[in-house]
């Protein structure tokens, strides 16, 4: 069993009529069983072929898992185009699209589905990830 502390803050002075200042923390523990046996972090080069993340140990993400994915591709500057967005699929169902510099964070539990894949619509993209199986 391991313990992870996660903090998420969101701040904006102009998205809503008032100043948004969200700051939340949570300590989360992994279960002491075989379904919580896979935690990994890494960087990936992503193409139009869907790439399953966290396949090293047991072939997928057991439910539930903490998932962080960031598009580490280049942001557009001047005449230089941005690297492509990273598309995240719940198994084969496209769900999210992460632009360069953006990230997602979620406790994943796909029900009957048990893995996430990343791909691009075209071109080569780049991302980093952290997967922590909880149960």
């Amino acid at each position: 069993m391991a313990t992870i502390k996660v903090n998420l803050s969101i701040n904006s002075s102009d998205v809503l009529p008032f100043v948004v200042a969200i700051d939340e923390s949570k300590e989360i523990s992994t279960a002491s069983d075989a379904n919580a046996n896979s935690s990994s972090a890494g960087k990936l080069t992503v193409s139009t072929t869907a790439l399953t993340i966290n396949t090293e140990i047991d072939g997928g993400i057991d439910n539930r898992a903490l998932v962080y994915i960031k598009n580490t591709g280049a942001i557009a500057t001047g005449a230089v185009a941005a690297d492509p967005n990273i598309i995240v699929d719940d198994e084969t169902v496209p769900i999210m699209e992460i632009a360069p510099g953006e990230f997602c964070f979620l406790p994943y539990n796909g029900g009957a589905n048990s893995s996430l894949t990343v791909e691009t619509a075209s071109g080569t993209g780049y991302c980093e990830y952290l997967i922590i199986e909880l149960t």
Binding site: V15, V20, T30, A99, L106
Partner: protein, 154 residues
């Protein structure tokens, strides 16, 4: 006339002394330009009491107050503010009765930030119908949630 861009900063941090062979201590920040275009012009924060519900029958939260007006990407921050039961998270981007896809469940106090895109979600070419669905994961029970969404444009 555009209302002008807005700015939002988001930071996520992880720390653990016993998860990996080395100490985990990671902090990542994204600074978002929320576009002042038609598809980036709405944001809302809401509190809900969510009962248990089958897929498609929970509380549907579109990322726009104008029905079916959203086009593109949207961020959702969701937190289970209850103390006992998990909060189920589903999402759908079809207007033809498709069953929402389950993405996760949040234990009490847990939170998430999603970058949903009805452009990639929509399989039948009828985008602009993105909905986040929340419900309590336990039968005959309720939990509470905070949801904050903002449009990011196409």
């Amino acid at each position: 006339m555009s209302k002008g861009n807005n700015t939002l900063k988001c930071t996520v941090s992880f720390s653990s002394a016993d998860l990996l062979p080395a100490n985990l201590n990671m902090s990542k920040t994204m600074t978002l330009t929320v576009p002042g275009t038609v598809a980036g012009n709405e944001a809302q924060i809401q509190n809900f009491t969510a009962p248990q519900a089958a897929a498609g029958s929970g509380i549907m939260i579109p990322p726009n107050t104008v029905a079916n007006d959203h086009a593109g990407r949207v961020f959702y921050f969701v937190q289970n503010t209850g103390t006992t039961y998990n909060l189920l998270i589903r999402v759908v981007s079809e207007h033809s009765g498709a069953t929402p896809d389950q993405m996760g469940d949040l234990a009490p106090g847990e939170f998430a930030i999603y970058n949903f895109d009805d452009g990639v979600m929509d399989s039948d070419g009828t985008r602009d119908h993105l909905r986040l669905e929340i419900s309590c994961a336990t039968g005959s029970q309720t939990t509470t949630a905070t949801v904050f969404w903002w449009e990011m444009g196409a």
